[in-house]
Subunit: 312 residues, 2 copies
């Protein structure tokens, strides 16, 4: 399936086929678990430039209050803003990725985010100058269940390990360092997972190996998340617990709009705003100086967010 | 009251006294109009460096669901991040300002923001190198009432006019250009007001004149806002109208976290996070592809936000 381009091998066709198929699989799995509603699909084209995307949105389900599972396959000329923001050079680019965020209604079911993406850069003869994979998945619970945290991390570790035992710890650390609200005294957004970027051909692995690594992670997503949803979705909750979830969702908004590179890059380069901001939680609260009671389950979560845990 | 510093005159003492007194006046006026609750006060000190602030927060009143009226009087050594973000040079700095945002519960009462601030910069001998005023006030309604928009703008224009007829149009335009969600196809945050910055001594006015200009605007704030609150606070509203307000509040969040220079500068320079983010609305909604019905009052507002109006 790979296409030869100069002396580097393009995997854009193979990767594109993969993310479109993964999107189908993930949406089907989530719909089954939800049991109350289906995703709607919006296909869009980039105005003026090449490519487009397939945005899938779920809302007001039995489990998922709001969520998006999006693919985009886009390409074009390298612009000045890309040169500045991405620190890249070159003439043309290609990017294909799948990105998802799910906000469950029940505060005992965690929010999840995952993203797997591939980038190619070409010189003015159309030859590949650079190519890399990025991605990861991370969990944002409102109440901490150790078994959920361990299951999520273990499933991801199992997907990483065949490609090298050192990868999970390395990308777990990157995740803990990236998803942080620095202005909140370095509070983590959630309990982590993995995050990686700029995975290029190096002495140990070529870009095709990194594609397989990303596919292994993409394939593990439902296994990492659905068992947790299944265990927690029928837990009863009260108004105070819902309110706590909405306050924590506020921190999610803060991270996404202040720090998240994908979000900011999309918004500043005229990306499709509705597809980008489908990541925002459905209902959110911001309260002045809200602090959970000492010793409460809410306070237990805050403690973990301030001190990342090695779950495995 | 002014202090001589080098060959420029410092107005920091006079300005500091003014903003503290204005904070008292504004809080009293808002409490009277609310009739249901009072502001709480948190005084804070900058850790390590000089100065601090007085944060005043109102919540769950009869009128105001959440709001903050804050002063801060801070000073210190010029840091690298300040050099980069503010494009300033110098050895030490002083900043004194009052900043407020009010989020009413009733969607027929507009949200309002105002801010008046003064900055001084010193060389290594403690002499003033630069000094300037900034500020403004802007209104964010959820439903448009022409008479409210005209009253707000006219009151501000009346405060500006004694200092030069050209000032209101110039600063009104600056406001229309600044409070814009560019990623939302250049939708304005609200129906404007005025915005100004870097008002320094020039051929026409010295910095003391700009202080008087800022004081005139600060003194006009309650007159610009309270009559509107008074007219609208008893209007009945339904769930759909509340929901519309919460969706629009989402746009307020987007502007504040993506573009607002004061917010981002504060968060990135270790400002007191709770005082900075007291500006966030209490409850917010983010919906995918929410569009009000054509010809509705909600859609009328959207039209005005996409095409700024000359209200006077």
């Amino acid at each position: 399936m790979s296409q030869e381009k100069g002396n580097k091998i393009s995997v854009r066709k193979e990767w594109t086929d993969y993310i479109l198929s993964l999107q189908d699989t993930i949406c089907r799995g989530l719909e089954n678990e939800d049991g109350g509603t289906s995703f709607i699909t919006d296909e869009w084209k980039r105005p003026g430039d090449g490519g487009g995307g397939r945005t899938r949105v779920i809302s007001n389900g039995h489990v998922f209050e709001k969520g998006g599972v999006n693919t985009s396959v886009v390409y074009g000329k390298v612009t000045d803003i890309m040169r500045a923001q991405l620190h890249i050079d070159g003439d043309e680019w290609f990017a294909g990725g799948i990105s998802l965020i799910l906000h469950p209604e029940n505060p005992f079911v965690p929010t999840v985010h995952a993203n797997y993406r591939y980038f190619e850069l070409y010189d003015d003869k159309g030859e590949i100058m650079d190519q890399w994979f990025g991605g990861g998945a991370d969990l944002t619970p409102y109440y901490l269940f150790r078994e959920d945290a361990i299951h999520f991390h273990q499933t991801i570790k199992n997907a990483c390990d065949p490609f090298g035992q050192e990868l999970y710890p390395r990308f777990k650390k990157w995740c803990d360092e990236y998803f942080v609200n620095k202005h909140r005294h370095n509070e983590a957004r959630g309990i982590g997972g993995i995050f990686y970027d700029y995975l290029r051909t190096d002495e140990e692995r070529d870009v095709k190996e990194w594609m397989n690594f990303s596919m292994s992670n993409g394939n593990a997503f439902l296994n990492a998340y659905l068992p947790i949803v299944h265990r927690r979705k029928k837990t009863e909750f009260n108004e105070e617990q819902k309110k706590w979830q909405e306050i924590r969702r506020g921190r999610y908004v803060e991270f996404n709009l202040i720090y998240d590179r994908g979000t900011l890059f999309g918004l500043k380069t005229d990306g499709r705003v509705e597809s980008i901001l489908v990541s925002m939680p459905p209902t959110v609260r911001f309260e002045y100086e809200y602090h959970p009671a000492e010793g409460s389950r809410e306070s237990e979560l805050e403690t973990v967010l301030k001190n990342p845990v090695d779950w495995i």
